[in-house]
């Protein structure tokens, strides 16, 4: 029997989903699950209508509302007219095309990348797309998941396929024992600081190594979530017992005999010994500290006890200019230590860090403490299910007793489309994923961090190392 060439996890999923590939053209790739939200879908449905097309596989599609909906409460009066029109448009499109939708009043609603995994729709070996770049999140299950533009949303709606050029592979090894207080968020920020925001362009990450194996499922979701911030459209982790255990009781997980068969399939997915990657990097996790960003892209990150680098020491003139611009926007100085720097707002939420284990981490710090005077704290659960679970565990009481706002699920201040936003010049420590200029509101200054570091800033009113606060 001919030996098959050893393949990576990515190659196996890719090969399984290529419908057809004409020489010189991109492959036609089959999509198993298509997730939809209100912001990037209206023009796609409009395209279908203009061309007289229907949705090919409504049963492999799920829509939710998350980006532009209010989180202070669920009421149209809290929204501007354009946002109302946008969610009504999704409502109409879902009805007209037969797609299941969790609207903003639904008790299953949540951020699109939180609800896929919690329903068990996200499964190993699948292809998953959504008109949202953080679709990479779902790669934590060993699924090939990536964000697409609205034209491609239309392509998937109409044909359940997409045209794709095969990306290259990039092995990211996290090795060593993870110190106390260092989270998955710190690991991914450390990676991006190492390779830069363009480091993964054209590639798919595969996260490997003992420090990845040691992460629970939700930490893995955080890691894969920010793959795009390193330039890679997707990031994958091979499924293992942690994955299977997490999936087993989810509503859409296969049951009985189907489960056994699925397990057999999924166990074939991990990268074969001897398979090679186009690029590789290793991060020693044992040397990491909690990470924070000082600039206006996620690669501009430093260990919390570190100092902001000096642009004058940067040999590349373009990187130097980018650093200078970022420092000017953020109001920071070269060589400055950020520890102790006062902050105005803390945002705990987003598809990066708003799952139950993230909220538990934050609550650990809030417990028995108060939000520092003058600081505004928003805690925004990732989904209705996360919210219910947190309330059952009494986490909401801990946040509220401390003086934080406990919100309805949604993207909220991660993207600042719904009225939750920073005032110009305000500093926010945020558990979200982008610190771009104005991302959290025009003129707002974002410092990305883990839920532990964000909570530590909330109770002290300044940038604080969370480790001494962990009892």
């Amino acid at each position: 029997m001919a030996m098959t060439r050893p393949r990576t996890l990515f190659e196996k999923i890719w090969d399984d989903h290529v419908v057809y590939e004409e020489p010189g053209s991109p492959a036609i790739l089959y999509i198993d699950l298509h997730l939809i939200h209100e912001v990037t879908s209206p023009q796609a449905f409009q395209g279908l209508r203009e061309k007289g097309l229907r949705v090919r596989r409504p049963g492999q599609t799920l829509a939710t509302m998350d980006h532009s909906i209010p989180t202070v409460g669920r009421d149209f009066s809290l929204m501007d007219a354009m946002a109302v029109k946008q969610i009504q448009t999704l409502e109409e499109n879902a009805r007209a095309f037969g797609i299941p939708l969790f609207n903003m009043f639904d008790d299953r609603q949540g951020i699109v990348h939180v609800i896929g995994p919690e329903l068990g729709l996200t499964q190993p070996g699948m292809t998953i797309v959504c008109g949202d770049s953080h679709t990479s999140t779902h790669g934590a299950f060993g699924a090939l998941a990536f964000g697409i533009g609205t034209s491609e949303v239309e392509h998937v709606l109409a044909t359940q396929t997409i045209l794709q050029r095969k990306p290259k592979t990039f092995e990211v090894r996290f090795e060593g024992a993870r110190p106390e207080g260092v989270t998955a968020k710190d690991m991914i920020l450390a990676l991006i600081a190492t390779i830069g925001t363009g480091g993964g362009v054209g590639h798919v990450f595969e996260y490997r190594g003992d420090a990845v194996r040691g992460l629970n499922m939700e930490e893995r979701l955080t890691l894969c979530n920010m793959s795009i911030e390193g330039g890679a459209r997707a990031g994958l982790i091979a499924p293992d017992d942690v994955t299977f255990e997490y999936l087993a009781d989810k509503p859409f997980a296969p049951k009985g005999k189907d489960w056994d068969e699925a397990l057999k399939r999924w166990r074939q997915l991990p990268t074969d010994p001897g398979a090679t990657y186009d690029k590789s990097v290793t991060i020693d996790v044992s040397r990491l500290e909690p990470m924070i960003t000082w600039g206006t892209n996620p690669a501009q990150a430093i260990p919390i006890t570190g100092r902001i680098p000096d642009p004058d020491k940067e040999p590349d003139p373009r990187r130097r200019r980018a650093m200078e611009r970022a420092l000017a926007y953020m109001g920071f100085q070269p060589g400055q230590q950020l520890l102790g720097h006062p902050i105005d707002v803390v945002f705990i939420g987003s598809c990066t860090n708003a799952r139950i284990t993230d909220l538990r981490m934050a609550a650990q710090i809030f417990k028995g403490r108060k939000v520092a005077p003058g600081v505004r704290v928003l805690v925004v659960p990732g989904s209705q299910q996360v919210k219910r679970q947190a309330e059952a565990e009494g986490l909401d009481r801990i946040f509220k007793d401390a003086g934080a706002e406990w919100r309805e699920p949604g993207c909220s201040m991660c993207i600042a489309m719904n009225g939750d936003r920073l005032e110009p010049g305000q500093y926010a420590v945020s558990t979200s994923n982008r610190n771009f200029e104005g991302r959290q509101g025009p003129g707002g200054r974002t410092i990305l961090a883990s839920p532990l570091t964000a909570a530590a800033a909330a109770v002290t009113g300044k940038i604080t190392d969370p480790r001494p606060l962990l009892a």
């Binding site: 419908v19 057809y20 010189g24 053209s25 991109p26 036609i28 089959y30 198993d32 912001v39 990037t40 209206p42 023009q43 395209g47 596989r57 409504p58 049963g59 492999q60 599609t61 799920l62 980006h67 946008q86 448009t89 037969g98 299941p100 299953r108 499964q123 770049s133 679709t135 964000g147 697409i148 533009g149 609205t150 034209s151 491609e152 239309e154 392509h155 109409a158 044909t159 396929t161 363009g198 362009v201 054209g202 795009i228 330039g231 459209r233 859409f252 189907d258 892209n297 373009r318 980018a322 611009r325 600042a416 489309m417 110009p424 982008r434 771009f436 200029e437 104005g438 991302r439 025009p442």
Partner: protein, 206 residues
Amino acid sequence: MEPFVTLTSKLVPLPNENVDTDQIIPARYLKVTDKQGLAEGLFAGWRYLPDGSPNPDFVLNKPEMQGRKILLAGDNFGTGSSREHAPWALMGWGFRAVISTRFADIFYNNALKNGLLPVIVDEATHRRLFQLVEAEPDIEVTIDLPSQTLRLPDGTEVTFPIDGFSKHCLLKGLDQLGYLLEHMPRIEAYEREHPPRFDTRVLVRR
């Protein structure tokens, strides 16, 4: 989609590196349900002063920049979100091509699908272009898609990469959906061999 063959234009220089899609079109402009009106939000964070009036120092607001069709952007353009509103906004303003050393993957693909040509040049050419526009802001360059060349005012030609498929679609103004629909029998055959393992419609409440 409008075909793209050749384009001669003056340049709008925007040297900022790592311009992300939140810079190209901030999220507050994404509440539209069509593709119109986005030009107004293009580079809004830089283009308008806090009181909403145009910032006279920002390049796009200079009278001589109006009508130019090529954006000369800094290194690594279009990182961040998947919003196709970014190329829609650029095209809405009148751009048909963007020149940079590197583009983020999703932006690159989104641009091509809308007839906005991302032109990748090497760092030396990139530097040279900025030097040229600094010395003489009104220089014209020509982008010739069939030969994949960018012609500088002194006649120098540099080639740029583009995959054959996207090039063909751009030259002909073809929509990629048409290509997929042509292959529907293959998609149907694939689906027969790979029946779906779930049906999300069980989630619909009556």
